[in-house]
């Protein structure tokens, strides 16, 4: 299929080194009132692999991530993290699972009363109590250096740009060295240069940390850059899942339309 894209599929993305899925979602359904958001979708991600979930606004992409991290409960279906069923776990049970996950919110969701440094230190203070203050500070500085924010330790979230907030959010998501990284629209609302920087950063972190990642985005360019596989959602269903080339070769009308308009 001929397209006008001149970008190449992510060649540097880490290869999947294990076929056992770290995240396995099966037949997941979720509705809010009379509105069906997810109509029985199934996806899986293995260690070192990045899956980009694409789709139009309001197709349940972010809801999928919120279900995986337990911020919403599914109506039916199964969510398995490292082969452990998490649907229906209580807050404390879910807490144990969440320690293995990092989540970057669409608007970063930094704690506005804490500095950049305190934001990143927050999960460490609660879950790495054995760390001394000096060790914790060192780890925070290292994390902020990884995302290029080492010079902004004492700034408040309101004093930094949207792109910088996302970087800090990413550092916070990585604080507990998660096995699974969930990214909700990491480049939304950013200028092309900042978007590209965030994409590069995600790629770098992926190759260093070998996490299983799910990236929700409607930015096809970004998805193509950072993901090994793409899943296209429409009306709560996965229309197609595979490499970018699979999407390009698809005869499905919605896929063609999506690629054409992206």
């Amino acid at each position: 299929m001929a397209t006008s894209y001149d970008i190449s599929m992510n060649e540097t993305a880490p290869e999947q080194d294990s076929h056992a899925p770290v995240v396995a979602v099966e037949n997941l359904r979720k509705s809010f009132g009379s509105q069906n958001v997810l109509n029985g979708i199934s996806i899986s991600v293995s260690r070192g692999e990045t899956l980009a979930v694409l789709g139009r606004s309001g197709t349940g992409k972010s809801v999928l991530l919120r279900l995986i991290i337990g911020l919403e409960q599914p109506d039916s279906g199964s969510i398995r993290i490292n082969d452990r069923e998490i649907a229906g776990l209580d807050l404390d049970g879910m807490g144990e699972v969440r320690k293995k996950m990092g989540f970057l919110f669409q608007h970063a969701a930094l704690y506005d009363s804490l500095t950049v440094q305190e934001n990143v230190a927050f999960p460490l203070e609660h879950h790495r109590k054995e760390m001394s203050r000096a060790e914790r500070d060192g780890r925070v500085k290292q994390l902020l250096a990884e995302v290029g924010m080492e010079g902004n330790l004492q700034k408040m979230p309101s004093d930094i740009s949207g792109g910088m907030q996302k970087r800090v959010g990413l550092a916070r998501a990585l604080a507990l060295e998660p096995e699974i990284l969930l990214l909700d629209e990491p480049t939304a609302g950013l200028d092309p240069i900042s978007s590209s920087e965030i994409d590069d950063l995600i790629l770098k972190l992926q190759s260093e940390h070998q996490m299983a990642s799910i990236v929700v985005t409607h930015d096809l360019h970004s998805a193509r850059t950072i993901a090994n596989r793409l899943a296209l959602l429409n009306e709560g269903n996965v229309v197609i899942e595979g490499k970018f080339e699979d999407l390009q070769q698809s005869d499905i009308e919605f896929v063609k339309e999506f690629l054409k308009s992206s």
């Binding site: 969440r98 930094l110 704690y111 609660h126």
Partner: protein
């Protein structure tokens, strides 16, 4: 009104006009929605309370946040509560003096002031002032955190938000209310004495001596400690309203307003019940 717009006068033979079906249905729907909303609110509050209780009694305990909240709720409310208590003491002294003199019971003025301030006015004024200051503060803060996904971020970081945000604030309210009440009482008595001594000089020692003459701890401890219940109400309602907020800035405003209104209302209602319990149990 008739169909043509004339006013018809209902007489014995006139059939009673029926309200249009649409109006009857909408009135029924409205009442039903009101009842549903009422019971839903209490149901959600019960579930929320259970979550907070579970989080509060199981480790890890959030000591640092609790101390921060004790300072925020206690020290920061102290000047306001003391000022309100002082104003009530002064007004009470001036008002009571007038009526006591009329009934020839002027010598009982210190007793009247002491009992009224400590048994009722101090606790209620503290409850209402804290409902306003702390209720609005907690409601708005948590609502703002909710709409900007900060509470979700706490939960996503494997931290129980009921433990970190709600339990600490509610416990701080429970612990600080009796202490703030003592401060309001002290300020009220001091100003009560000052107002009286300006009208008719009496030493503070004499005022206190007469005021507390024949009093027992049962007269003063239960009314002071009942404010721990006020603290529970204020903290619980403010945290609940804040953490269930939906919508943007409007939702935050609504949460703050509802926190203050509901907390004040429930403090007054709880006072009626608590006064009756204290009278039955301690007298």
């Amino acid at each position: 009104m008739s169909d043509r717009g004339f006013i018809t006068v209902a007489g014995p033979g006139t059939p009673r006009p029926r309200r249009p079906a649409v109006l009857r249905v909408s009135a029924f729907s409205y009442t039903s929605a009101l009842f549903n909303g009422f019971f839903e609110w209490f149901g959600c509050l019960a579930i929320f309370s259970w979550q907070v209780l579970k989080a509060a009694v199981t480790p890890p305990y959030e000591w640092r946040e609790l101390i921060r909240q004790l300072d925020e709720i206690g020290s920061m409310s102290l000047p306001l509560v003391a000022l309100a208590g002082a104003a009530i003491g002064a007004v009470l002294s001036m008002e009571t003096r007038e009526s006591m003199t009329r009934f020839g019971a002027k010598s009982l003025l210190p007793t009247a002031i002491v009992y009224t301030v400590i048994q009722e006015m101090g606790p209620v004024i503290t409850g209402l002032v804290v409902s306003g200051r702390v209720g609005a503060g907690i409601g708005a803060e948590l609502a703002s955190m909710k709409v900007t996904e900060q509470i979700d971020a706490i939960e996503a970081s494997a931290i129980n938000p009921y433990r970190l945000l709600a339990a600490t604030r509610i416990l701080a309210c429970i612990l600080m209310l009796p202490l703030l009440t003592v401060a309001a009482d002290a300020a009220g008595l001091l100003m009560g004495w000052l107002a009286q001594t300006l009208a008719e000089p009496i030493s503070l020692h004499q005022f206190i001596d007469r005021g507390f003459n024949g009093a027992t701890l049962h007269d003063f401890l239960p009314p002071t400690f009942k404010t721990a219940v006020f603290g529970l109400i204020i903290g619980l309602i403010a945290c609940f309203q804040g953490m269930r907020t939906r919508g943007g800035a409007e939702g935050v405003g609504r949460a703050a307003t509802n926190s203050v209104v509901l907390a004040s209302l429930f403090v007054i209602l709880a006072d009626v019940v608590l006064v009756k319990i204290i009278l039955v149990v301690f007298h």
